[in-house]
Amino acid sequence: MSSNVTLPVAEEFEPRIVAFFCNWCTYTAGDLAGAARLAYAPNMRVIRLMCSGRVDPEFVLAALRQGADGVLIGGCHPGDCHYREGNYKCLRRFQLLCKFLRQMGVEEQRVRLEWIAASEGDKVQKIANEMTAQLKLLGPLRLQITPRVNGRPRAAECPPAPTKGVAP
């Protein structure tokens, strides 16, 4: 038998996680995890925002539409927000968004909010690994295919063109 024949191996599903981390706590914790050489699943792509209060539900929906299997939002612990209450606003929006996502058939493990302080590099590692494992079990997010848009390009494909409406 020839030895240089490679058999196809069933590829394991690798989930894509988009993470929105606040600049002051969770992103710093991510840095700390790196400095401390705490390895974690490479499935997470981190986007740094100034505050978890900046995470608009639209960002999460856009990430899911563009192929994320899960979204992680990381912010400062309650009471620790650099801007005093951005993380509370995030919490309120997150809870409402989750209710909507349940109606849309998106499982609750896919969108997660975690409070991670700047010193908690190990928590970044733990959550990234945990979420990756959970999403592997859930499988890919199967959104309905969006119809091909022939008219104006929809926001999901490109930023909206500056258009001027007719004044009433």
Binding site: L61, L64, R93, Q95, M104, P168
Partner: protein, 330 residues
């Protein structure tokens, strides 16, 4: 010189958009003097064959209202697109999917099951369902096929302009007709309405507190509504902060909160996302359990924040088992 030809067609809609044309009142005489209606099924006796007989681009403009959810509607949308120089999505259903678009929370099979079997008033012992074609003694008869999902018009054919609203405000229709007749139209793809949120310049804006927070969400049919005060400040889910203005505050002036029929302003990627963001941040609590309890009173977020636009939203339809059967290619 012959008058420009105009068409007005309906797809998955309720007839309210036609009503908005009637609401032009005397102004409809000016419209009739300026244009020739060559296709208007609700009001005039032109047939599909008349449209098919027209040269391509024969109509100066055609307005289509209603969402697209059947084979017949898709075919008509394509036909009218060919015959019209300017195609306008008229009304919330055509613009964003509208109320019929909420059917995207369910799959086609369960919708048919509910309508033809489960509703209490249904008597259908033979479990008869609509068939694409049926043989009867006189030959073969055909019915349009219900699509898997509901779509906005621009998800089926290219659309030049949008006139939003459920139904569109008369002023927007007047302005649009004037713009078409004078040729003074904005860039293609524009929504023919002001690009400002309803909250700006709201007659109740002076009573909106600087730091607006809500302790309890109220439902308009259960409470007395102060006719002067900002509806959000009273705890009603008014979607004015996220919704495009241009309706003349019709609901607000009738003492009802905005439900978002004009859809988003041009900067918004997902109307419901923007509306949820605006409303949820007003919850007056920092306690997880308390916030959850308050949000519990918003029983149907999809129906509340995507009432007029689930098909045009980023998620389009419910995820899951049926996902792979997704959208018909136009």
């Amino acid at each position: 010189m012959s008058k420009p030809k105009v068409g007005f067609y309906w797809c998955a809609s309720c007839g309210g958009c036609e009503e908005s044309v009637v609401d032009l009142a005397e102004a409809i005489l000016d419209v009739a003097a300026a244009v020739d209606f060559v296709f208007f099924p609700v009001a005039m006796d032109f047939k599909r064959s008349d449209v098919e007989a027209m040269a391509d681009g024969a109509m100066a403009a055609c307005m289509i209202n209603g969402a697209i959810r059947s084979s017949e509607q898709r075919a008509m949308a394509k036909l009218l697109r060919r015959k019209a120089q300017i195609l306008i999505a008229y009304g919330a259903c055509s613009h964003q999917g509208g109320i019929p678009g909420l059917a995207n929370l369910f799959d086609r099979q369960s919708i048919l099951q509910t309508v033809y079997r489960d509703t209490p008033s249904t008597v259908n012992p033979g479990d008869i369902r609509p068939e694409a074609s049926t043989r009867i003694p006189h030959g073969e008869v055909e019915l349009p096929v219900l699509d898997e999902q509901v779509k906005s018009l621009d998800q089926v054919v290219p659309v030049d302009y949008y006139i939003p609203g459920c139904a569109p405000p008369v002023q927007l229709l007047k302005d649009a007709l004037a713009a078409i007749l004078t040729g003074r139209l904005p860039p293609k793809g524009s929504v023919l309405a002001p690009d400002k949120a309803l909250c700006e310049q709201c007659p109740r804006a002076p009573s909106k507190p600087d730091n607006l927070l809500i302790d309890q969400f109220k439902r308009p049919h259960l409470e007395r509504i102060d006719p002067e005060k900002c509806l959000l400040a009273q705890g009603f889910l008014c979607l004015g902060p996220a919704t495009r203005g241009g309706c003349g505050w019709a609901c607000i002036n009738a003492n009802m909160p905005c439900t978002g029929c004009l859809g988003p302003v041009s900067r918004t990627r997902d109307y419901g996302g923007a509306a949820m963001s605006a409303l949820a941040s007003l919850v007056n609590s920092n306690d997880e359990a308390q916030i959850a309890a308050m949000l519990e009173t918003i029983v149907d977020p999809a129906g509340t924040f995507y009432r007029y636009g689930l098909p045009a939203s980023l998620l389009f339809a419910r995820a899951g088992a049926n996902a792979d059967k997704g959208g018909h290619e136009p």
